[in-house]
Symmetry: C2
Subunit: 239 residues, 2 copies
């Protein structure tokens, strides 16, 4: 296929949301794993709920609310200093080790991010991780004031890059995002990163296993991604 | 307060979604607990995602898709006979033991259900459980072709009962539904049924504990319910 733009999801696709785990463990001890997973699950829930309710607040606000929820849910007091340290990590998430090389290899088309993150969060993140120079655009759903998978978010790509959706390859590791991008009309590559759940031999799932069970599979929306790849560097082979 | 209508959520509020557990355990063995919790979590996710995506399918379809997901996620083959038995339980969920008495005591105003369930699911459910005669209306979001907390769903109450939202008490155990109903403008009573998470002494949460952690608390949307009650029979005291 020939694409004029490759557009990446950010959280979970270029950046490892699980990279907060070292800090949640340092600050919350043996509750760090539960905080990590509940935080991310609630962050996604809140984006969908605020989108559906028509009551937009930006992703920084949602990330803070979901952190408050996660801490309280396991009995940790969400003090200001604790929340500040954890929130700051969201501005400096680890990129996946191959992200830099993968973006560097894609020189024959436009490269962009389309993310739920706020404009400020994304700008900070791409500069902190040294990939800002490898991107032609960083598009925040802030412009549409709703969240993926609302089609208005995916429509921002054409509005920003002036490239029609038929010429766009969208890349995400998030099943709901794959479904939303397919429904919108992009060609979609799913980074199948979480792999199958490890639950099959352990009926008592811990937080990480349950997270993988909930988020690691393709969603049952009757839509399949056009491509399934194991890692970001495989994307170049789709061009 | 004087209300002209009391409107109840169905799943989790009048009917115990956890009552599928005996059957999931009978059919899936020690994976029954994980199937039960993942099924419900995904069912909610799919309602929000389809609502946000603008790609409505009714709740029967969503309940089936989320069951498929849940079974696959723990390595159980979603055979037709297995799925039929589990889906049929959703048409015959156990009402909470106090539901009949609570509805019977509320004779001074209109009584209704507003639920994500499809028209067919709800009709079957209220007849199977013997509460159909205690209700003036059973309102399905089918009419709006989207899901709670989309305000269009809550607006169905006035359209159906011809009672303005200021005169409605909405009752739900689901935190997202409480937030959505408050945002819409109802007075809201939260049935705080799940109670606090039991996780505080157990860093390794199992599926039921994680479900309670995710779903048993008030959501962090900056909106509080007007009333918090422990059980359906307490609702009469609010009138």
């Amino acid at each position: 296929m020939s694409f004029r733009a490759i557009v990446f999801d950010a959280y979970g696709t270029l950046y490892d949301v699980q990279s907060v785990l070292a800090l949640t463990t340092e600050l919350c001890g043996d509750k760090g794993e539960a905080v990590t997973q509940i935080w991310r699950l609630k962050q996604l829930e809140y984006s969908w709920l605020r989108g559906l309710m028509g009551d937009y607040e930006d992703f920084w606000s949602i990330t803070r609310s979901s952190l408050n929820f996660a801490l309280k849910s396991v009995g940790v007091e969400p003090t200001r200093s604790l929340c500040e340290r954890l929130m700051n990590k969201y501005l400096d998430l680890d990129p996946y080790p191959e992200a830099h090389a993968a973006l560097s290899s894609l020189t024959q088309c436009k490269r962009a991010i389309l993310s739920n993150g706020s404009t400020h969060m994304l700008s900070t993140l791409v500069h902190a991780s040294g990939i800002a120079a490898l991107l032609d655009a960083v598009i925040s759903v802030d412009l549409a004031r709703t969240y993926k998978p609302n089609p208005a978010c995916y429509a921002l790509v054409e509005q920003t890059l002036d490239i029609p959706k038929a010429d766009v390859l969208f890349v995400s590791s998030n099943g709901f995002d794959v479904a939303g991008a397919k429904h919108f009309g992009f060609k979609v590559a799913w980074i199948q990163r979480a792999g199958p759940s490890t639950s099959q031999s352990d009926p008592r799932l811990g937080p990480s296993q349950l997270f993988r069970a909930l988020r690691g599979r393709a969603e049952e929306f009757g839509q399949q991604p056009d491509y399934r790849v194991g890692t970001l560097t495989d994307v170049a082979s789709l061009l």
